[in-house]
């Protein structure tokens, strides 16, 4: 039996090509993912372990609340320094520090721009910063920058740098450039170093974030930790460097396995799509070998042996494809790292890590998927009666069995739809997901049934291509099962693509509406770093002649009826010009006199109405304030909470900061206006000036990035589906070579034979695409209902332009997939084809 199977595999090399490719790609995705994430995880672990080299013991707060513990201050630092096992003690401190490049624009994005203190030990060095040039900064007008940032910006020792750490602009001199193991820098961020006193002032620190100790020679980490523990006050905890490194390693493993799992989901989709192609191929091979199989049965092979010979063939194909796929996967892993590196993201270096389980997993998955897909065709093979060997006509696949299939598909689809509707009205995500999966599977089962009416409907267009079009359409439904599995493979990819696109575009529209919908201002000025904008920024902007009005958005934090409440201070005189509040009751009028505007939802929850009195307890100074509700407005996720006069907030804060400034211009937004706003804010790298269009663009770029990543991940599944179309057409051409020969003989020219195959391919592809897009929109609608729970402004937006593009691409896929089969068909020798077998 083994020899028979091997011979069969070798005999059908060309016809098995697409099947092998489908398995290969799926397996490559799996092994590529595993290798890539293993390599990445190992590299991150190594680089993070390095950053704990100079830490023997680290002391950190145990509980979050400051009142419950002593401060990590200099007194504590000194106490640790006196421990016999301590070689040196370091207090570390950090905060956002925005840098301007030589072109005046901020370097990197806000969150990865960090600053820290330089804390030299007894030897005058801070092991965190290894200077390669110059020296450590001293005094408020000096800084040092990391070498990667220096390389990126072109700054050198001696240059003057523009930065902002506390909101105001500083222009210190660069005294040195250093190398660091800082994880943020490794990930592409910037690190600016200040001397300790300056850092403490800038980062508002009456204490350190962490105190680290380095053990003296002869003292182990654990011994030092015991010494620290003896003097350690309540509320603080001490860990050895080893513990911290382990902790971090665990976190990295968790993160990389999360990435790995996400990628594996998509690999599973690709493999699932591959199943349809494998099943198609084996069904065809079995159908073509009916006589041969019958002969085997006639000479005494049992049904089981026949099934086993088919499965053995699948095993061999799976094995070959998996070995190749594994090798391709290693290539993918290497390529992926290079590709990510090319986008500018910095990944730590490290050797390629291929864990021993990876090849095993790859082989097992490839072989099992192939054998599982070949199982049904194998069983069909066993049902061939021995007498079929003698018959000259082999029975063509009939419509028998579709009745069972259709009923089953109908039931699954109905159950899935019922679950979906329940989920939509009841709102559990699990029910929605299960319903969506059931509907998808149900429709896959129903595809043969759907193929007839949908393909028949294509007559309107296809029959315009004359007899080639009509024959193509008829051929497309000739073997409904095969057409169905081919189209299903494409449908799965397109369902996911369409569904995700609908949800993402709807979210984007909703967020966009919230972000700029209630805005009357032309510009929003924000601080990209923590503390917010200094009130003087507003004064500078107000002084500009082209500015019509500005209002701060000053953050206050208060307690209303025992829970946190966002309170925003605005300028009562200007707020009407920058915000378009939709009042349900009251108006802006009373705000100036100590009134408060409350959004509808908060008002409902607190039982407040216009005219009522509101009691807020401010967290900043624990004082209570009573305000009259002078207006109730309909808010959204961006504009919500309680609005008060900035004067109210200022009463409770020492250092009020504006998280945003809303600016209305006299002549609307313009590049010149934007320039003068930037200039007025002192070219502060921490200040960002955006008009409405820029905000919308930022939102849409986030959504596009996410969508593009998903498209990329689903590309493999779509690619495999395209191979399926090629496979099906190649099979059809092979099976119909006599017919095509006859057509050539009676006068169909090569061009029309090609057109016939191409149109069949396009019809099948578009059939899959139409099903996928329809199902995708439906599932997108269902998924959207669960999004609406968290995003009120969500309304389903179907991006018809994109959907038209998907359809066009599906048509193109059909044309491309038919290239090779159509050429083969056109080249068929009419003479050979019409000769009797």
């Amino acid at each position: 039996m083994f020899r028979t199977a091997l011979r069969n595999v070798l005999a059908h090399k060309a016809r098995l090509l697409m099947t092998v490719l489908a398995v290969l790609l799926g397996v490559a995705f799996v092994s590529g993912t595993l290798t890539f994430t293993d390599t990445l995880g190992e590299a991150f672990k190594k680089s993070s372990a390095q950053s704990f080299d100079h830490v023997s013991v680290a002391v950190r707060p145990h509980s979050a609340r400051e009142e419950d513990r002593p401060k990590l201050d200099d007194a504590l630092l000194e106490k640790f320094g006196k421990l016999p096992g301590a070689e040196s003690v370091t207090g570390t401190l950090s905060g956002f520090t925005a840098l301007a490049g030589k072109d005046g624009r901020p370097v990197g994005d806000g969150w990865s721009a960090q600053g820290t203190n330089h804390f030299p030990g007894p030897d005058g060095e801070d092991p965190r910063h290894r200077f390669t040039d110059g020296r450590a900064p001293q005094g408020p007008d000096e800084v040092a920058i990391d070498s990667r940032t220096a390389e990126r910006t072109g700054y050198r020792t001696g240059d003057t740098l523009r930065l902002s750490a506390d909101g105001s602009v500083r222009t210190p001199k660069i005294t040195g450039v250093f190398d660091t193991d800082d994880g943020n820098v490794a990930a592409g961020g910037t690190l600016t170093v200040f001397d300790n006193a300056t850092a403490r002032k800038l980062f508002d620190g009456d204490e350190y974030e962490e105190i680290t100790l380095q053990a003296a020679a002869g003292t182990s980490e654990r011994e030092l930790r015991q010494q620290v523990a003896q003097v350690l006050p309540e509320g603080l905890k001490a860990d050895t460097g080893r513990q911290l490194a382990d902790e971090q390693a665990e976190m990295i493993t968790e993160q990389t396995s999360a990435i790995s799992n996400t990628l594996l989901y998509f690999a599973a989709i690709a493999l699932f799509v591959g199943v349809f192609i494998i099943a198609n191929t084996f069904t065809m091979l079995v159908a073509q070998r009916t006589k041969e199989l019958a002969l085997l049965r006639a000479v005494g092979a049992s049904r089981r042996q026949v099934t086993r010979s088919v499965l053995l063939e699948a095993f061999l194909i799976g094995l070959i494809a998996s070995v190749l796929g594994f090798a391709a996967g290693i290539g993918i892993a290497v390529g992926m790292r290079a590709a990510i590196g090319a986008t500018g993201a910095e990944l730590p270096d490290g050797p390629l890590v291929i864990s021993p389980t990876t090849p095993l997993v790859a082989l097992a998955i490839g072989v099992l998927v192939t054998m599982a897909a070949a199982w049904l065709p194998g069983r069909k093979a066993a049902k061939v009666p021995p007498v079929a060997a003698m018959n000259s006509v082999h029975a063509a696949p009939t419509a028998r069995g579709l009745v069972v299939r259709n009923s089953l598909g109908g039931v699954i689809t109905a159950i899935g739809a019922a679950m979906l509707f329940l989920g939509v009205s009841g709102g559990t995500t699990a029910l929605l997901a299960a319903g969506a999966a059931a509907v998808l599977i149900g429709v896959i089962v129903l595809t043969p049934l759907l193929s007839r009416p949908v393909v028949a409907a294509s007559a309107v267009v296809v029959d315009r291509f004359g007899v080639a079009g009509r024959l193509a359409r008829l051929n497309a439904v000739r073997n409904p099962r095969r057409t169905a599995s081919t189209a299903s493979a494409l449908m799965i990819g397109l369902t996911l693509v369409t569904g995700l696109t609908v949800v993402a575009v709807s979210v984007q529209t909703a967020v966009d509406k919230m972000a700029v919908g209630l805005m009357r201002a032309d510009y929003v000025v924000t601080s990209v770093i923590g503390p917010g904008l200094h009130p003087e920024v507003r004064e500078k902007l107000d002084a500009l002649p082209e500015v019509a009005a500005t209002s701060p958005m000053r953050q206050g934090n208060a307690d209303l009826d025992g829970s946190y409440q966002k309170v925003t201070g605005v300028d009562p005189a200007a707020v009407g010009k920058v915000l378009d509040l939709d009042f349900a009751g009251g108006s802006l009028a009373g705000l100036a006199g100590g009134g408060a505007l409350v959004d509808q939802e908060t008002a409902d929850a607190a039982g407040l109405a216009t005219g009522d009195t509101l009691t807020l307890k401010f967290y900043d100074d624990d004082k209570t304030e009573k305000l009259e509700v002078t207006g109730v407005y309909n808010g959204n996720q961006m504009i919500d909470g309680i609005f008060v006069d900035t004067a109210v907030i200022d009463r409770h804060q020492d250092k009020p900061r504006d998280y945003q400034l809303m600016v209305a211009m006299r002549d609307g937004p313009s590049p010149a206006a934007e320039k003068s706003l930037i200039a007025a804010s002192d070219h502060n790298p921490a200040v960002r000036v955006q008009d409405k269009a820029a905000i919308s663009e930022e939102i849409s770029s986030v959504v596009s990035l996410l969508l593009n990543m998903l498209y990329g991940l689903l590309a493999m599944a779509v690619l495999i589906a395209v191979l399926g179309v090629v496979n099906t057409l190649a099979m059809s051409v092979f099976e119909r070579k006599h017919e095509i020969g006859m057509l050539r003989a009676i006068g169909m020219d090569r061009a029309r034979v090609k057109r016939m195959i191409r149109l069949e391919s396009v019809v099948i592809s578009l059939f899959g695409a139409v099903l996928g897009i329809g199902l995708g929109i439906f599932l997108g609608w269902a998924a959207g209902t669960s999004v609406r729970d968290t995003l009120e402004a969500y309304t389903m937006t179907v991006p018809w332009d994109r959907i038209a593009l998907f359809l066009a691409l599906a048509g193109l896929v059909g044309v491309v997939a038919a290239l090779w089969p159509a050429r083969r068909a056109a080249r068929l020798n009419a003479l050979e084809a019409i000769k009797a077998e």
């Binding site: 004359g466 024959l471 000739r478 006859m742 006068g747 003479l831 019409i834």
Partner: protein, 277 residues
């Protein structure tokens, strides 16, 4: 050696030539495996004549038909359909010629299973983008007796009925000549007789020109004229044949009809592989 035969006294009134082969030679392969399938064959097929080409298997009879019908290329010599030389034609022109001037009936794979009987009959005209002549079509359908079966799919028709559809398809376009390659090879004798009857009637009543390749003396007896091939050459000719006279001639053929023989460059030598005719 060139053998030339002309049907001087056909049943057909016309003397115009529908198809002609002149010194037609067809060689397969090269060197050691070189096989001469047709050795300078010259023949004419007159309009309104039903010609049968006979010969033992491997005699080159199918090759002759394929070459004259523009399905196969010619090594040397020439072939023409209604005055059009086939030699210089490109594939596209040959295809058009087959479409517009020739009807085909094959032994098998004659019909498209996705089309019904009527659609199969009009297929060549659909390909050409021509409207069928309704009166003629009705006449043809009636002649082959398919009136009640036009909407049936091939799978719903018997073998004989399927072949009658093929005959109707060949006739429907009123081609200059119809080539039939063992049209009764897959049929039982009764259905075969029916189909051959239709072919003969179409010649007698509709004035069609038919060239039929067969190895069955009974089938050949339906023709006006029988041309005998052996070893790639025309060796004999018979007018107004009967099954008996055909059988007699075959027995007297130089290489003998009883033992089908492989072709070779040298007549009489055996064992060289050749494509079956």
């Amino acid at each position: 050696m060139t053998s030339s035969f002309t049907g001087a006294t056909g049943a057909a009134p016309s003397t115009a030539v529908a198809a002609r082969a002149t010194g037609l030679t067809k060689v397969y392969g090269e060197g050691e495996t070189k096989v001469v399938a047709l050795d300078a064959v010259s023949a004419e097929f007159r309009q309104g004549e039903f010609t049968a080409i006979m010969g033992p298997s491997g005699s080159g009879k199918s090759t002759l038909m394929h070459c004259v019908a523009g399905l196969d290329t010619i090594t040397s010599g020439s072939a023409a359909i209604g005055g059009t030389e086939l030699g210089p034609l490109k594939d596209k022109q040959l295809t058009k010629l087959r479409r517009d001037k020739i009807g085909f009936i094959f032994q098998a794979f004659n019909l498209l299973p996705t089309l019904n009987a009527l659609e199969n009959i009009t297929l060549p005209m659909d390909i050409a983008g021509r409207k069928p002549d309704q009166d003629w079509l009705e006449k043809v359908v009636k002649t082959v007796g398919l009136e009640g079966r036009l909407t049936h799919r091939p799978s719903e028709l018997s073998g004989g009925q399927q072949q009658r559809v093929a005959v109707a398809r060949a006739l429907a376009g009123q081609p200059e000549i119809i080539f039939a390659d063992e049209p009764t090879g897959n049929l039982d004798s009764r259905s075969g007789a029916e189909v051959l009857g239709f072919l003969r009637n179409s010649v007698r009543e509709l004035g069609q020109t038919i060239v039929m390749v067969t190895h069955d003396p009974v089938a050949a007896a339906y023709a006006d004229r029988v041309v005998f091939l052996a070893d790639g050459r025309i060796v004999d000719e018979l007018h107004g044949p009967t099954a008996e006279s055909v059988l007699d001639r075959m027995r007297s053929l130089p290489t003998g009809a009883a033992a089908p023989q492989r072709e070779s460059t040298r007549p009489g030598s055996e064992g060289t592989a050749a494509p079956t005719g």
